[in-house]
Amino acid sequence: MKRSLRRQAGEAGLTITSMMDMMTIILVFLLKSYSTEDISVAPNDDLQIPMSTAQKLPKLAVNVVVSRKEILVDAVPVLRLERVADPETGAETVQVPDDMKTGQLIDKLYDRLLEKAETAKELGSRASGDQMDFKGQVLLQCDKRLPFSIVREVMYTAGQAQFGEFRFVVIKGGEG
């Protein structure tokens, strides 16, 4: 009994043809979805990018991420946001801590963006051609549940730091 089993196994060998078929299909699928886009998002619980019908492709620019937890500039955390209850409705909302801003201006974000603007300008002046010129573009990735007051403060701060062209990053694909 034992002997016959062993002999059978030896004769059959490993059939990898079907596995190869599967692998080839996966490979083709992955190659198709392979993309080298200029920006990448890492959606998580605190950063849900809204969907939109917009079709315009994103271009490289300074990346400002506003999640429900914190604000990041080019993947470096700048400041944490605090969660408070809305004084009128009682619902939970997010806001920039009062001691972090002067009026509408978010101080830390302003300093960081000004630094970015200076660096970009210097790059632009050294490079030949106008490809690297500072155009004041900023990519904004915001969580869809954020109140407009935060978006406005971020936009105002960016505007003060010479970033005047906003590109709101959205997920392509219908309404919602």
Partner: protein
Amino acid sequence: MSKKRNEEAEELNLVPIMNLVTILIPFLLMAAQFISLAVIDSTLPAIWPPQPTQQDDTDKPLNLSVLITDQGFTIAGAQAVLPNEGGDSGPTVPCLESGCPTPDSYNTKELTRLLGLVKDQYPDDQNVILVPESRIQYAVLVKTMDATRESPTTGVGDKPRELFPYVVIAGGVK
């Protein structure tokens, strides 16, 4: 005859290809993007000089603005505010549910329809100013930008009709 037997005896050695594919798959899985991104352009009012795309050819600029409140949308121009169907002082396009609890309760379809009528009157105008309230969720803002940019139902062929693609977001009302 002998050649045929030779072919039968030699099996194709797939192991190196398997190795290659097994390495390629994790690599491509990491680099794959399953969501495609897009951007919506907007410029700052006042602080930034006017963009060349935002010129007004008409003598009377329309200055179309859409106020977003927790009651709905109010469409206003330089001359007047568009009243709602009831004729009272409420928003031009009230929410489907009172108080607009979710972004979906905003009636963006009606907004698009009305803006289409505005576009008929001012075919050269391309700008719209959005004035959201402080508490309005960002998702509503994006939905409104979608609704003001193009009208998917009244286009020529598959292409949606362009309404007001240049969005300016104003400071908003408290």
